[in-house]
């Protein structure tokens, strides 16, 4: 067992699955010789050969299309889109075909494929490298959208994603790729897809987050505890389909909810969670549903990026507003 980062956990999970399942193949831009721009696929080509770890041209629609074709024939492709900002040429393949194949063939063909993409801001990257557009895919029936928040979850959920009989969009919060390490045993044990993880129990408010923002959310919960406010923290982990039961159960216990997301506020995953709470747990609400999010604007470059990102203070401030709400 070794202490590894989130990105190394992704690598370990893929390597594990390639080791036990010949059908698993990896491809994408720079995933082979280079090992991926973030080193997600580092060493895989050496270990599993050029037949199974394939460098592709810079053509995302083709990458998704190949994955669909392979998966329809029973292979288990793990395709990389180098940054989520460049997934949109592949959107037609993903939305119009990948997500619909099971339905279109009335269950005859399923697509056991994973499309990986680093996403989110906070690393001073250029344009189109920092967006959090998980809501676009969360809206599409037929796709699972999974976002790990720490190394263990990256490992467990990646294994589950590869083993799942249906397509999974696996979004990796690149800001926290190397921010911390977990001791992970490479035992091939997967994590449940489609479930929230209650990372901290509390009684006054439910903080709901996913991906990189979970780090700020947990810090906020720590800080709130010193102020006598007991916050429950939920890692959504699978933003689609949503495990809304766990969220509602918690909100009905605490009476308050605050959603923390990096994405712009409008039309986001947080909007859906807020709507579900309002629809199903209204009678338990002691305060409005709070949302701490990015702004409804293009995420700025380097210099203003810090201003854009939701911070611990923002969460603490909003939670206090909700707890003191009368």
């Amino acid at each position: 067992m070794s202490a590894i980062t989130l990105i190394e956990a992704v690598n370990m999970a893929i390597a594990h699955e390639m080791g036990i399942d010949q059908e698993v193949v990896v491809f994408g831009e720079d995933v082979g010789i280079n090992g991926g721009v973030f080193r997600a696929t580092d060493g895989l080509q050496e270990k599993f050969g050029k037949e199974r770890v394939i460098d592709t041209p810079l053509a995302e629609a083709m990458i998704a299309g190949i994955a669909i074709g392979m998966a329809a024939q029973g292979m288990k492709p793990v395709a990389e889109i180098q940054f989520m900002g460049f997934i949109f040429p592949a959107a037609d393949q993903i939305i119009s075909h990948c997500a619909r194949m099971r339905n279109r063939t009335r269950g005859r063909l399923t697509l056991p494929m994973v499309i990986r993409a680093p996403f989110g801001g906070g690393i001073h990257a250029p344009e189109n490298h920092s967006e959090s557009t998980e809501a676009i895919f969360a809206h599409i029936p037929g796709l699972k959208v999974v976002i790990p928040s720490n190394p263990s979850r990256a490992y467990g959920l990646m294994l589950a994603a590869i083993r799942d009989p249906d397509p999974v969009i696996f979004l990796e919060p690149k800001r926290v790729y190397r921010i911390e390490k977990h001791e992970i045993e490479d035992n091939g044990e997967d994590y449940p897809l489609g479930m929230c993880f209650v990372d901290r129990e509390g009684t006054d408010i439910t903080l709901i987050s996913w991906g990189a923002m979970l780090h700020e959310t947990k810090q906020a919960a720590e800080k709130l505890a010193t102020d006598g406010i007991s916050a429950e923290v939920i890692d959504v982990a699978t933003v689609s389909p949503l495990d809304i039961d766990t969220i509602l159960e918690s909100v009905e216990k605490t009476g308050r909810a605050c959603i923390v997301q990096e994405a712009p506020k409008a039309g986001a995953v947080g909007s859906e969670i807020a709507a579900e709470i309002a629809e199903k747990s209204l009678m338990s609400l002691l305060a409005p549903i709070g949302r701490v999010s990015g702004y409804d604007t293009v995420i700025p470059y380097y210099r203003l990026e810090k201003q854009y990102m939701p911070k611990v203070e923002h969460i603490v401030e909003e939670v206090k507003r909700l707890v003191e709400y009368r």
């Binding site: 940054f83 906070g122 690393i123 250029p126 979850r153 911390e180 390490k181 406010i229 766990t246 002691l286």
Partner: protein, 601 residues
């Protein structure tokens, strides 16, 4: 590309993205202006960025090709200079066209950053070294304000060749090797590994000869990474500045186990752990699933946890179901939710419930003291009460509602009520008007046991046992409780009774009920079951001595001679004034009612 020694044409170089052309945004110099080497000359816009192009020569500008807005092809003439002789290296303009070959030499990883860098470097290198030349950090290609020194590849005092890799710089996007712009001796390295150098700030000072003294102390060519900066050796192609931490954090194992158990519907209380210290592992949960240790289909009951904050108040707001608006309303009226009835769906406290508490002092809680409804409307229709207008102000009670209040008070002050309850089995009924059946049963029972069809005067201790049966019907209306009378019910057939009930109902709706319509009742019927309620304690209206309440009928499994049968049961509640009747009389009266009701028709 240069023509003569003195006249030089500067052609537009590739600005770093392999694009075929660029647009002039604005000129920063004029024709005839004397310019220095590297002085900003023009802003060019490519598809990706606006780039400032510096003067490649010192001299006088003789011609500018194009104006703002013009698109210039790469390789076409951009500006012409009249060399003043200070520049001897006529090969320089060609350097811009050497970008690709420089690229190859510099071994930079990210192509995007790469060509721009080489570009910048070559722009800087356009000047031949003079003594003690300082090389400033160029923009490494992303318009970022600074870059971090990863490691020096050269040492002070070392003599470098042109393009020899000098230093590795990390920008937000890439680690880039910066080649030497000169063939010269390094006089000073500005900064160490880990230092952040701003674009435009000195990076390396060069000296022409080896006369550098104090600073010639040996600087290790490769500096070690800072110990706690656990930068992987492969960070070379990482795009952007990913924060690196070396802290080992524990996964919340229980969160994962709970999530898995929930997904598999496993009851964790039945699972024994095989992990360290009896911890439950994922395998334990999966095994429990196989063994069928599942949660019941019932939703887990949650026990509200009281937080320290909530302990300050004596009630936990989450013990009550109420919408935020109702909670706010209760706060405004200073009403505790624990005091409120919960008449809404699933035990929700409604705004009316809050108002009910707020008004208790001024308004009699009429609804709880009387069973009041006779209606042949369907339950769902009559459930919606349009009579109540919520308001925090006291409302004066008038008219029918006041009459009800007075009547009830009188009853409460005088009558000694006793209520007897029993069910009638009405399985044999075919579809028919239940109200007429109830009236008929009252008539029948009154013949059998007349002492309940009676008026009683408690002051004189007199009673009148009536020959005829005049049945009062309790009818709920927005204005309050009406009790109009079906007179001589004993001489009316079902059709006539039905007609009279219709007539009375219309009169109530049109507010045309006459005094005589409401007088003379000898016994009363309250059909609260048309809304809901199994048994009740209807209130006798003096001088009458009895009232029959009919509840909501239900299906019930009954043990009969034939075994277990599904029977349709009608719950009955008979209240009588014990001053006027004995329990025996009342019980016999109820038996007669049941006997009549149980006739299959």
């Amino acid at each position: 590309m240069n023509t003569t020694n003195s006249l030089k044409i500067f052609n537009l170089p590739d600005l770093g993205e392999g694009l075929p052309d660029a647009e002039i945004v604005r000129w920063l110099v004029k024709e005839g202006e004397k310019v220095e080497l590297h002085q900003p000359m023009v802003e060019m816009e490519t598809a990706k960025a606006v780039v400032e192009v510096p003067c490649p020569f010192a001299g006088t500008i003789t011609k500018l090709h194009g104006q703002a807005g013009d698109v210039i092809d790469v390789g076409s003439a951009l500006a012409e200079f009249d060399g003043d002789g200070s520049l001897r290296h006529e090969e320089l303009p060609d350097k811009f066209e050497l970008t690709e070959s420089e690229l190859a030499k510099s071994e930079v990883v990210t192509s995007e950053a790469d060509s721009t860098l080489a570009q910048e470097i070559s722009q800087q290198s356009a000047g031949q070294i003079s003594a003690n030349e300082v090389f400033n950090l160029p923009d490494l290609g992303e318009g970022l304000p600074d870059a971090e020194i990863v490691r020096w590849l050269v040492a002070e005092g070392q003599v470098l060749e042109l393009h020899q890799p000098m230093v590795e710089m990390e920008t937000a996007k890439a680690v880039v090797e910066v080649p030497s712009p000169f063939a010269a001796k390094v006089a000073k390295l500005h900064g160490q590994a880990g230092d952040v150098i701003e674009v435009g700030a000195p990076l390396v000072s060069f000296g022409e000869s080896g006369v550098l003294s104090s600073s010639s102390a040996v600087v290790p060519p490769v500096k070690q990474d800072e110990p706690d900066d656990n930068k992987p050796a492969d960070a070379a192609t990482v795009v952007g500045a990913v924060q690196v931490g070396n802290k080992v954090v524990l996964e919340s194992a229980s969160a994962v186990i709970k999530a898995l158990a929930k997904k598999l519907k496993v009851d964790l209380t039945q699972v024994s752990g095989s992990g360290n210290n009896g911890a439950i592992t994922q395998s334990d949960v999966k095994l429990a699933k196989k063994e069928g240790k599942l949660l019941g289909t019932k939703k887990a009951v949650f026990t509200p946890v009281t937080s320290p904050n909530q302990l300050l108040n004596d009630e936990n707001p989450l013990d009550f179901r109420a919408s935020p608006a109702v909670r706010a309303h209760a706060r405004r009226l200073n009403v505790a939710l624990s005091q409120c009835a919960a008449s809404g769906k699933k035990g929700t406290i409604t705004k009316a419930d809050v108002d009910g508490v707020s008004n208790t002092t001024s308004n009699a809680p009429a609804s709880s003291s009387s069973a009041v409804v006779v209606s042949s409307q369907s339950a769902s229709q009559s459930i919606v009460s349009k009579s109540v207008q919520a308001s925090s102000e006291p409302q004066t009670v008038r008219g029918v509602r006041r009459a009800m209040a007075m009547g009830m008070s009188k009853s409460h002050a005088t009558v000694v009520p006793t209520t007897l309850m029993e069910d009638a089995d009405i399985t044999g009924w075919s579809k028919q008007d239940s109200l007429t059946r109830y009236v008929r049963a009252l008539v029948f029972a009154s013949k059998i046991e007349p002492s309940l069809n009676c008026w009683f005067d408690g002051e004189k201790f007199e009673r009148i046992v009536h020959l005829n049966v005049h049945v009062g019907l309790a009818i709920d209306s927005p204005d309050g409780l009406y009790v109009p009378v079906v007179h001589d019910a004993d001489s009316k057939n079902a059709m006539q009774i039905r007609t009279r009930v219709q007539e009375l109902r219309q009169k109530i709706e049109s507010k045309g009920l006459k005094q005589e319509d409401q007088q003379g009742a000898t016994i009363t019927l309250s059909n609260f079951g048309s809304i809901t309620g199994r048994y009740g304690s209807p209130v006798v209206s003096p001088p009458q001595v009895a009232i029959l309440g009919t509840g909501r009928f239900r299906n019930e499994l009954k043990l009969t001679d034939k075994g277990i049968e599904n029977r349709k049961m009608l719950p009955l509640s008979l209240t009588f004034d014990h001053r006027a009747c004995t329990g025996g009389e009342a019980a016999r009266f109820l038996v007669a009612i049941i006997e009549d009701l149980q006739r299959a028709e």
